[in-house]
């Protein structure tokens, strides 16, 4: 499969605190990679480094084989190829649902307005939010906001989608609706990297699971391998803790 993203020897320090220590992994077209691990293990930082919301301290990130850390790179247009869904939704509060999904296609990607509208409606329909186009984000529930955020990310038609704990800020009864949407995207073969605490979900939708511990990738493999026969001690301990919760 065609390789989209490669991360090599990635390190990120916040002062003296080493959050990421020598991370290597790659994502091919159609991969659904779940990143699990306890809080503070560096999962979110890794995702934010991929999107360049954090600048890595050292190492490299290659997108289709080209470094995105070299000085000549056009960061905004790189980000437009890498969609991101945040834990706290981050919908634009000054725009309604439709405008949220249209602003980037129209203003950044220069898609004609009518086409951008059609595109936005298509994805809003996919996430079941098409009837809410006139609503401002403040009137939506958490689950609804997150579904709009997913539609917004899809509307820029990215080659890879990053999910940063998409259900962690949601009430339990809203988690399902969001996971269902992400699950459908996985089924249709979208390339995705998902940081999550939803183990059952990770087991069911992923093609590969990465377990992170203390800034390194501790173990990596198919969901079956990680969830049924993990090899490393930290992975075992983490999953033990999780299932016995």
């Amino acid at each position: 499969m065609e390789n989209i993203l490669t991360v090599t020897h990635l390190q990120k320090d916040f002062g003296t605190h080493k959050v990421l220590r020598d991370i290597d992994f790659s994502v091919s077209k159609g991969d659904v990679v779940s990143i699990i691990g306890s809080s503070g293990s560096g999962k979110s930082t890794l995702l934010r480094c991929i999107n360049l919301l954090e600048t890595p301290t050292s190492g490299d990130i290659l997108f289709h084989g080209a470094s995105v850390l070299s000085s000549g790179i056009d960061v905004p247009s790189y980000r437009a190829k890498v969609g991101m869904v945040f834990q706290s939704f981050n919908l634009f509060d000054n725009m309604n649902v439709l405008e949220n999904c249209m602003i980037s296609p129209v203003k950044i990607l220069k898609v004609p307005k009518a086409e951008a509208r059609e595109r936005a409606m298509h994805y809003l329909d996919r996430v079941g939010m098409a009837s809410y186009i006139n609503a401002k984000p403040r009137y939506l529930s958490g689950g609804q906001k997150q579904r709009v955020a997913i539609a917004r990310a899809l509307a820029i038609q990215p080659e890879i989608l990053l999910f940063d704990e998409p259900t962690s800020a949601l009430d339990p009864q809203m988690v399902g609706e969001v996971l269902q949407v992400i699950g459908k995207l996985a089924e249709e073969g979208r390339t995705m990297v998902i940081v999550t605490h939803e183990m059952t979900f990770a087991r069911d939708v992923s093609s590969r699971v990465i377990f992170m511990d203390d800034g390194i990738i501790c173990e990596e493999g198919t969901p079956q391998k990680i969830f049924t026969s993990p090899e490393k001690e930290p992975t075992k301990a983490f999953l033990e803790r999780f299932w016995n919760r």
Binding site: N51, L53, S71, V75, P76, S77, R79, A80, G83, M84, F86, S88, F89, N90, L91, F92, D93, N94, N96, I103, S104, K107, I108, L109, E118, M121, L124, D125, A130, S131, Y132, I133, N134, A135, K136, R138, Y139, A149, R152, A153, I156
Partner: protein
């Protein structure tokens, strides 16, 4: 028609109004014009300065860009400190007479008035705008960057509109302050409301009566200004309800269902 003043207070007020009503109105008009225009220009200056002060100095950008930004920041800092830290009345005379004596420029009264009030408002607004941008959640910036906006576009489409909404009450404050404080321009001969009232008062020695009229006019203007700004804020918030498109949302032919939310428009979710 008699030229002698009536003996009672209200009689004298009426007498003044009949004779000099138009000069009060002209004065009030001048006051309004200067304050509104200068508040707008001041806001533009404030947004410019505030945005520049907000831009972080990026270590990765080339040295000349960083140097330029540093110099701009220092100049703007000095501007803000000087104009915020000295009385507008003193500034008016300093600039008006200084320009003619030092630079040989004879400012027109109008230009001087707009210039002084605008530049003053700008100095106050700069800090307000910076605060307004800082008050917008960092997630908004990250969301904007994540969909491919450059920092400048994120500022333009997402941060500034939200900052503007957040600082609307402060813009209102500034307008009201300007309506009142344009009276200091009388020291450079601007014929605004206070100047008119004082001239009329001097003619008949009717200071109390004349200032009563001025008080009423000032209060009317400031109350009207604050009411109008509240209306504008409401309009910015948009309706407290939204329409649910019920069936075929692509066609837009279907009926719309109006959902009323109980939360008032200006209340933000926690």
């Amino acid at each position: 028609m008699t030229t002698s003043l009536p003996s009672d207070f209200w009689g004298r007020v009426l007498f003044i109004l009949q004779r000099y009503g138009t000069s009060y109105l002209k004065g009030a008009g001048t006051t309004l014009l200067i304050s509104i225009v200068s508040t707008i220009i001041g806001c533009i200056i404030g947004f410019g300065v505030g945005v520049v002060q907000y831009i972080p100095i990026d270590k990765r950008s080339p040295w000349y860009k960083r140097a330029l930004l540093r110099v701009a920041k220092v100049i703007m800092k000095v501007y803000v400190e000087v104009f915020r830290g000295t009385p507008m009345m003193v500034q008016s005379m300093f600039i008006y007479y200084g320009a003619s004596q030092l630079l040989g420029i004879n400012m027109s009264m109008w230009f001087a008035a707009f210039f002084i009030v605008s530049i003053n408002t700008g100095a106050y607004m700069a800090e307000t705008v910076r605060g307004g941008i800082l008050s917008v959640d960092i997630g908004q910036t990250e969301g904007a960057l994540a969909v491919g906006m450059s920092p400048l576009r994120a500022m333009n489409y997402v941060l500034i509109p939200q900052a503007l909404r957040n600082i609307m009450p402060q813009i209102g404050n500034n307008l009201i302050i300007n309506i009142k404080d344009t009276c200091v321009l009388s020291v450079i001969g601007t014929v605004e409301l206070f100047f008119s009232a004082k001239s009329v008062a001097g003619t008949y020695y009717t200071y109390f009566e004349s200032m009563t009229i001025a008080m009423v006019l000032y209060l009317t203007m400031t109350i009207a200004a604050s009411k109008l700004l509240r209306l504008w804020e409401k309009k910015m918030d948009g309706p407290a309800t939204y329409d649910l498109a019920t069936t075929d949302t692509l066609a837009f032919t279907s009926g719309l269902l109006n959902i009323s939310t109980k939360r008032p428009a200006n209340e933000r979710p926690l």
